[in-house]
Symmetry: C2
Subunit: 152 residues, 2 copies
């Protein structure tokens, strides 16, 4: 991992690139799943047993402000985190996957197959919104709600 790259990024925010932060970022890079703070805590704990859950929360908060991670919410009562679009190694950054959530049993299906048309339209919407609301859009999430096969 290019430590220098991260170090610079953190220093640009007046922050230090410490060991706990390094381990947490490594973890996020390795896993491309939606991780909860506790998932990260448990995983990082294996190689860095001194880590505290508090640090994980504080680091994730910082990383979100820095635009490195995104917080997701599936209505489970806890947040999940993933790297932002464009962050990561090569083509391991599998993003723009969206979600089908069953409103009955809360089952979640990830959905990644976006057509060219869909991607094009989302970009158009983003451009339009950026202009209209003077907002710098860095990511988007789409949630579809309904009933899964079992619950129908």
């Amino acid at each position: 991992m290019q430590c220098q790259h991260w170090k610079k990024k953190f220093m640009g925010w007046g922050c230090r690139f410490t060991q706990p932060r390094q381990f947490i970022i490594d973890m996020l890079l390795k896993s491309n799943k939606h991780l909860t703070a506790e998932d990260i805590y448990i995983e990082v704990h294996k190689s860095y047993p001194n880590i505290g859950l508090t640090t994980v929360y504080r680091t994730l908060e910082l990383l979100e402000k820095m635009g490195i991670v995104h917080r997701l919410d599936f209505g489970e009562g806890k947040s999940r985190y993933e790297l932002s679009d464009g962050i990561g190694i090569e083509n391991k950054t599998v993003h723009h996957h969206h979600h089908l959530i069953c409103t009955n049993c809360r089952k979640i299906i990830n959905y990644t197959d976006f057509s060219e048309q869909e991607i094009k339209l989302m970009k158009e919407i983003e451009a339009e919104l950026s202009k209209k609301y003077n907002f710098k859009i860095t990511a988007h999430q789409i949630y579809f709600y309904g009933l899964c096969a079992k619950c129908k």
Copy 2:
């Protein structure tokens, strides 16, 4: 309000259309905002002081399963609720509004202006997903993340 309509709906789910439930639904119909459980509790409390917060939570849970409300999550650490698409009085059902969330200051902008093209495409995607995953889609939410004018 057409009580009979709701009564039937509840009975179809083996549930009773009780007073607390009636008040909560009334509240949701009157307000077209994203309400938290506590918002609803405080508001209903004015006309039905015996209401308990627990009942609000339980009712919202039930209404969500019945497909009457949708739970939203803006990463505030609490859920917000709104009536599902198609539920409500006349054109008061303002739905399909989506959200721009500032990842720095957490400011939320509601966004309602969907072009014909956007609506059409979302319908197409829904149809495609319904077929592919055998899912009955009843609603969708889009979240755009980025930096607001101030935080840019």
